[in-house]
Symmetry: C5
């Protein structure tokens, strides 16, 4: 799983029927000191996360489909947690 | 999922029987400001997307097979949405 | 899926029993203008492709196993189409 | 699987119900001579690993879900072993 | 699948019960002219491969689990063949 920040939303009116009602978030993966890392990607929202929140993103199809609660949904990334704290040992 | 633009089509007469009738699109992943990012790839069309459209691409085998509506199809990428707008928070 | 060229074959007499009889091809992924891209990889042949042919390679375990027609075969890449033409829109 | 070191923990109070009770570890992949390699990532703890331990991390959704013992958990990485020794042949 | 050389072994006494008895190999992916390519990784041995042998490695969870003959084992890479020859067409 990766730590990312929600940086936007995407609207796609015409989409696969298994996506009906699913919210699509644009998330930016972060380094441990909260810098952007690599390209932003799209994830379905399984939790009601909002823009600017720091989230836990799962990046694998089966896992993301489960997160959405729709077993056979064609998704490959999902927001599955909202992060409170990250403790790094010194 | 990734944002990409449809940039072409591929014809493969001789193919695995589970692909019969499936349309193969050449899609170019994009950055958030619509620049090409990385190499183009092939995705099956689950939606009737046309050349030049900005689309939502799922990149994982199980998910892509579901998108095609053929559970055991040997595919690993599919177009599952046509993108209307991307809203990036400032 | 990716476009690749078959550049060789691999012989492995001692192998997992689910591979019995499967042909192993060495395939080189290509850019859109047919230049080699990244390292060559091994794919099972689900179609009877020959050396030098331009092929469609699926790169994911479940999908590749389906391609081989052996549900639980331990494979992660398979040749699933022989490419006739690639049309890139200008 | 990869060799990594546990470097921290992550707290996410609000998370997908399938994660209830699961411990989230921040793990840093290592090279063979124990240098950090690439970005740190999050993995669920299937074993009771502690900070600073050298662990075996599985990085794939189905495998990680199994590790957690919850078949349909939306996870994509898990700690599945604590490493005693690595023997590299000369 | 990838061509790799077995370069070592890993001992992890404390591990997920589905790994009991499985041998963990450290494998180094190779280029076509047998140079090391990218980082070494861990793979379960499904075949009895020894140090220094050139092997066929499958890198995907479902496939690797099948290779081990334990459907729900939390593994993501497995040695599934021992390579005799690689023929590259000129």
């Amino acid at each position: 799983m990766q730590i990312a920040r929600v940086i936007g939303t995407v609207v796609a009116t015409q989409k696969h029927r298994k996506f009906e009602g699913a919210k699509l978030l644009l998330v930016q993966p972060l380094t441990m000191d909260d810098k952007p890392r690599g390209p932003a990607l799209l994830a379905v929202d399984a939790l009601g996360a909002g823009v600017d929140e720091k989230v836990l993103v799962v990046m694998e199809g089966r896992a993301a489909g489960e997160a959405l609660g729709r077993k056979f949904a064609p998704v490959d990334a999902a927001v599955v947690g909202i992060i409170d704290t990250v403790d790094i040992s010194e």
